[in-house]
Structures are given as structure tokens and as C-alpha cells.
Symmetry: C2
Subunit: 425 residues, 2 copies
């Protein structure tokens, strides 16, 4: 049986589980790939640090290049841009295929890496880079290869979904929910990358590149985090039959691709509404297939390792049988829209003076900017102020912003609360 040599770069949470599964499932992996998968080395920063017993200490090295040059398949789980990028390029140059879970690197340097893999006629696989074990990279790259994708909507950050879910189900404040997420290890001490939407934006760029066959980088994604979401927003969403989710959205419009990450009102009968806790889910809308959803654990050592190993099996079987991973295609070359040209339905809440004619004045400002209103609800809050909840039809972001700018200055408005996108069900 052909031997396929594997080099593993990184032995953190995921790397440790990859090492364990390579050893525990040796026979199954051989049967499925047609090759004996032999782990030739594990590159780590500190070979003397304590390790899980699943990591064979005799394979540890602090010289990644030596094991890359020996390998048929390199698994890159170091994270970060450099030196991960240099090692992957070195692997390609040496004729090795690469499996990576490095979303930051792909979002920043994806096209360069795809091109280098194609030049070297080897595979680049990265199922683990988006939504852990959920096979959404496959879904976009292969399962809809005969279709035309119109939209990708994802809950791709488990930390923020956990926080919003706790706020929704238990009525916690943002700060309480964040503290709980940190306690449980779902959120880091510095939660910026998660709660400000940057992690989701990197994944959004990867998903959009795959869906629309166009170069998209993280800088093309318009990002809003969830720090400003208050209990009142969750409650007001609930009154509209919605839950608040951090949605990464990539949509194909006639005029280009719209990319957005931000808190979004999702109707309860939308498949994304039922995604609980730290789970991930991605909805793909395509012309023929209609709407598909992929759902599962978006993080965690073992689930992510499962995704890595499925890629390793595919890459190894190509070493045996020939064949290549699907081409990374950028023939689409569709323009990416400015934030202002984005379109969505919106929900906005205003505290207004409770006096005759305010409703007419507010709706008049919307109309003047060409923003069509679907529904307005007026309630009186505990503070005695009237509260207007306005739901719009689909409108241009620029028009909505002009509306809000005018309203913010209007003497009949006490306060403009959070304004959020609303996804259609």
C-alpha cells in the first residue's frame, strides 16, 4: 500500500486531536484513502512543553522545514499569517498538498495560495477554516458545482451566537452574557475578534470567494459587532417575531456582491433562528437547489480535527489515484459593492415625544429619502416616552443612513436606538 507522509504543524487543541485520530483510526483511514497515512513529524514551538499523551513526543520537532520537505501532505494548524504562509508555499514548492484551518491567512492571502497550489499541481484544502466540522466549504466548492449560488448567510461565530442566545433565552445583559462566555471558555479574555465581528468577517470573505468565484478579502466586508446590542433590542426583536443573530451575509446582486457582517433580526421560521448556543450554521441559496442549511459544532478540538482529516483523506487519495481538489475559480470577477450600495430590510427604534403628528413626521422623513415602510408600531415605555418601531421594506443602505441622519437631528426624536438589518424568512 502506498505510504503518504504527513507533517503536522502545530499541536494545540486541534492539532492534538488530529494526532490522536491519525493514530486511533489508522486502519479506517487507510481503507478510505487507499494509502497508509504516516505521521512523520509534529512541529511545535517548544518541544519540552507538557503535552497530551495523544501526541507522540518522539515526533516533536522545532524545525518545521525539515518535516515539510519530507511530507506528501502538510497539515498547517499554527494559525497567524507568518510563518504559516511561508511554510505552506514551501510545501507546495516541494510538491506536497496542504490542509489548513487558517481562516486569517486564507482571508488575507487566499488567491496567492490557490494560485501557488495550482502551479504546483497539488491540493489546498481548508474545510476546518470555516464553521469547524460543518462541511460548508465542500457545500460551496463541490456540492453546488452544477448550480448558481445567489446568497450565503451564516452564523459562523459560536462565541457571539452563545452570547446572543443567552441574552435571548435568559434575558441577560450583554456584559453578563459575555462574562459567562468567558467563564465557560467560549470567549477569550480579549473578546474583540469575536464580538466586533472580525472573525465572522474573515469567514465571510472565504465563503463569498467560494460562492461567487471572485476574489474577496476581509477588507471588502462591512462589519458591525454586537457590543451595542442591548436587552431592549432583543426584546423588541422578539415582539417582531424575530431573534437577533450575528449574521455573515454574502449576496449576489445584479450590480455586484454585497458583503455584510452584523447583528440581524432573523424571523423565527427562518432556519437560522433555531441555531442555539455555540453552534454554527450556514444557509446557502442557489437558483436550482433553493435553500440548503449545514449545521453543527463550529469549533472545538475534535470536531475541527474531523474536518481536517476528511481533507487529509481526500488529498491522500489523490496521491494514490490521481485527481485534484476542485479548481479555485475567480472567473466570476464580480465587483464588490460599497457599503452604501448594500440593500436590506431594516428595523429601527426611536424614542419620540408623545405628541400628535409625530408618527406622520417620522414616516414623512423615511418617504422623503425613498425608504418604504412595511410597518410601524408605537408603544409607550416605562420612561413615559413613546417608542416607535419602524420596519422598512428593502432599502438602500445609503438611503436609510440619510433618513437616520435627518431623524437624529429632528426635534421630535429623543433618541435613535439600534438599527438592525432584518432577514426575510
Amino acid at each position: 500500500m502506498t505510504v503518504v507522509k504527513i507533517a503536522l504543524l502545530g499541536a494545540g487543541t486541534v492539532g492534538t486531536q488530529v494526532a490522536r485520530l491519525l493514530s486511533e483510526q489508522k486502519e479506517d483511514l487507510a481503507a478510505r484513502s487507499g494509502a497508509q497515512l504516516e505521521l512523520v513529524g509534529i512541529a511545535v514551538r517548544d518541544v519540552s512543553a507538557p503535552r497530551d499523551p495523544a501526541v507522540d513526543r518522539s515526533l516533536l520537532t522545532d524545525d518545521p522545514e525539515s518535516i515539510i520537505d519530507e511530507a506528501d501532505v502538510v497539515i498547517e494548524l499554527m494559525g497567524g499569517i507568518e510563518p504559516a504562509r511561508a511554510y505552506i508555499l514551501r510545501a507546495f514548492a516541494a510538491g506536497a498538498s496542504v490542509v489548513t484551518g487558517n481562516k486569517a491567512l486564507l482571508a488575507a492571502h487566499g488567491p496567492e495560495l490557490y494560485e501557488a497550489a495550482a502551479q504546483a499541481d497539488v491540493d489546498l484544502y481548508y474545510e476546518a477554516a470555516v464553521a469547524g466540522a460543518v462541511p460548508v466549504v465542500y457545500g460551496l466548492r463541490e456540492s453546488l458545482a452544477g448550480d448558481r449560488i445567489t446568497a450565503v448567510l451564516g452564523i459562523v461565530n459560536g462565541t457571539t451566537n452563545y452570547i446572543l442566545d443567552e441574552m435571548t433565552v435568559k434575558g441577560l445583559d450583554f456584559d453578563e452574557a459575555l462574562a459567562k462566555a468567558q467563564e465557560l471558555g467560549y470567549a477569550e479574555a480579549d473578546p474583540t475578534a469575536d464580538v466586533d465581528g472580525l472573525d465572522a468577517a474573515a469567514k465571510c470573505a472565504i465563503l463569498a470567494s467560494l460562492a461567487f468565484h471572485t476574489r474577496v478579502s476581509i477588507d471588502d466586508v462591512h462589519v458591525h459587532g454586537i457590543r451595542s446590542i442591548a436587552k431592549a433590542d432583543i426584546e423588541s426583536a422578539g415582539r417582531s417575531g424575530c431573534v437577533v443573530k450575528l449574521v455573515a451575509s454574502a449576496k449576489r446582486r445584479p450590480e455586484g456582491i454585497e458583503l455584510h457582517v452584523g447583528p440581524t433580526l432573523v424571523p423565527l421560521d427562518h432556519p437560522l433562528a433555531s441555531v442555539r448556543g455555540a453552534f454554527n450554521a450556514v444557509v446557502i441559496e442557489a437558483e436550482a437547489a433553493d435553500r440548503l442549511m449545514f449545521y453543527g459544532p463550529g469549533a472545538g478540538g475534535a470536531p475541527t480535527a474531523s474536518a481536517v482529516l476528511s481533507d487529509v483523506v481526500a488529498a491522500a487519495s489523490h496521491k494514490v489515484d490521481g485527481g485534484r481538489a476542485p479548481r479555485e475559480l475567480i472567473y466570476g470577477d464580480i465587483p464588490v459593492l460599497e457599503a452604501s450600495r448594500g440593500r436590506s430590510s431594516f428595523q429601527a427604534e426611536f424614542a419620540v415625544r408623545d405628541e400628535i403628528g409625530v408618527l406622520t413626521k417620522v414616516t414623512g422623513v423615511f418617504a422623503a429619502h425613498g425608504v418604504s415602510i412595511r410597518a410601524v408600531v408605537q408603544t409607550v415605555g416605562e420612561d413615559g416616552l413613546a417608542r416607535l418601531t419602524v420596519n422598512t421594506h428593502e432599502a438602500l443602505q445609503a438611503d436609510l443612513e440619510a433618513t437616520l441622519a435627518e431623524l437624529a437631528d429632528a426635534e421630535f426624536i429623543s433618541e435613535v436606538h439600534n438599527v438592525n438589518r432584518v432577514e426575510e424568512s
Copy 2:
């Protein structure tokens, strides 16, 4: 650019959409597969019958063999066992790869076809055979190739899910919901294959073969349909925080594979509980990946055609780049359990005489047969009879049946109502 010749067998609902997409998406398909996909013929029974304009009449033929012998990839969408089986074997013998959506054929003759494809060194793809556009065949065949699957649970029949959903949401009787499904075209005039669970059983066999790398045929699946589900069962499930779904279940037990299709109580927080209308969903549980769900339209011309075309792109790209579809592996060779050796939690309802000591007598019978009780609820119905709802812990099917046989004869039991499996959340 390499030309890959495609023969299409069948121009029904799905075949017509395949012909349309092959023509409309010609350039995208070429970019993704690396080949010019050329439709060389469409075999139909009656070339003079009226057709959708998407079907190019000049390609119609009533001589399938002539176009099979010319093709690089044969798409079989005729359905039925023969002559579909003979045509597929002929395609393999001529060196063509095959894409099929024929679940009945695969459930009956899968191993023969896999073997013939392997001998001829060509591909057999069949994503469309289970759950339409939902890429669950891929999920089992490739995306979890580095993992060990422990269970597959699916809502794989849209007709029955529609009927049960109508009963649940609108409180309809089975007969009313069936009539509505027939009116809307979700159910056939003779609904036997759907409502008696046979369609789901064929899909269950295909899913189990893939998940456990073992030969499984439809005859190995223990099947119960939904005809006996009454409004009272739906209501009683609701009181237990569950919905009733027709679940196709394949589980790996220490002693073998358990295969079951039948009405099942699914807790509201289980991902399958939220599958509405005619949608399909499949949950896959694996040791490392934990629990994944794939969700989408399980039928319909365009969605199913999308699945067919993704397989065509994969098969065509192998004609260009080399490589093969994943091996169909039966190395698992795990025994399939008799129905009596199956295990599940159950919910059973009894109408009992409302007299002192009945509860003790009923629970005593369960205990005598080694069936452990999780909860008992006693209510008094409109008929003045007391109604006992018994929920068990996981128990052997044989033990449960012995319990029920004894209770059916007991003088303190007026009636044994439906007994259903309960899935853990």
C-alpha cells in the same frame, strides 16, 4: 478543452431540469469541471410526447443503448429496477461513469453496481438518490471520511413530513392531511410507498451502507408507516414536549447495526424537530465531529437536478484530471440486528380503568420485563377513562413487546394506544 459526452436517460421532472441547467449553465459548468459538457442524447419512452422547451427535441431517442455507448458520463433518471440496472452496467462496461438518482435500484442492487464501477475504474455517483439537493451522500462518503459515524437520523420523506407537520400545526386528522398532500401534489394517488415508510426505508439502507461501510439492503430495515398516527398521538407527543416525525434511523450498537423507520417522538430542542413541511434533513452523529445536520428541499425537479449536476461536474473533472469517486467500502462487515434486538426509549399510552392500584399494576408489568420507566403521567380523558402515558428509559424492543403483550391481555387495561420510539435530544 476536453469534451465530455453526456447521455441522459429519462426526461421527467428531474431530467427536464437537468437538460435545462446543462444548457443554461454551459460556461460555468465548463469552468468548474475543466471540460465542455456535451449532451449527446436524451432517451425517452415516447419521442413524440409533448415536452418542456428546455428539452431539445433533436436529442430525443428511444434507443438508450446507442447514446450510452457514445457517452463518457451517463445520467440515469428513469427510475425502477430494470432496465435501469442493465443500462448502468452497460455504461460501466463501455467505460462511462454514471450519475443516478435511483434509490430503489441502489437499495436493491447497490453492492453489485459499486463493484461493477470499481472493476471498470469509473465513477458511480448518486447524491440525488437521498434527500434531493441535500448533500448527505457526500457528507457520509467524504466529509466524515476521517471520523467514525455512530448514528444517522433522517427525515428523508417529504410527503410524510408534510402530513405530520399539518397534523401538528393545524390539528388535522391523518386522512385530511393526506388529502391535502395529494391535492398539492406532495403525495401520489396511491400513497403507499410514502406513508408506509417504504421510500424512507430504501434511503435508510443507502445511508446505512455509506455510514457503516457494510452491505445493507432495504429488507434489513424494520419499517412502520404513519397510517396509524392519530391526532391524539400528536397531542400526547406535544404534552411531552415532542413532535412526531417519520425518522429513518441507522445506529451503530456494540453488537451490530440497528435500522429502523417509523414514527418517532422528537424533542422540540432536537435539530430534527424544526424541519417543516416537505423539507428533508439528515443528522449525522460521529465520534469526533459530534452532531451535524444537513437540511434542504428533499424533492422537486430543480433541486434534485442541482444534485445531479454536482455529481456530473465531479465525474467529468475525473475524466480530465484523473482521480476517482471515493471507494465504496464494505470492509466494515458489521452484522445487522434483528428488529427484536433494537433498543430505544419508548412512549406508550394506555386507557385504563380508573381504580386504585392500576398504576402499580402497570408499572409492575414493565418492571417484570426489565423495562425501566422514566416517567408516568395519568390523566382522565373525555370518555371518563384514565389515560396513562408511560415513558421508558432505553429498552430492548423484545422486552417492550413482551410488556405490551402482557398488558394487552390484562383486565385493568382498556386499550393500548400507539407506541412510539422517542429520540433523545
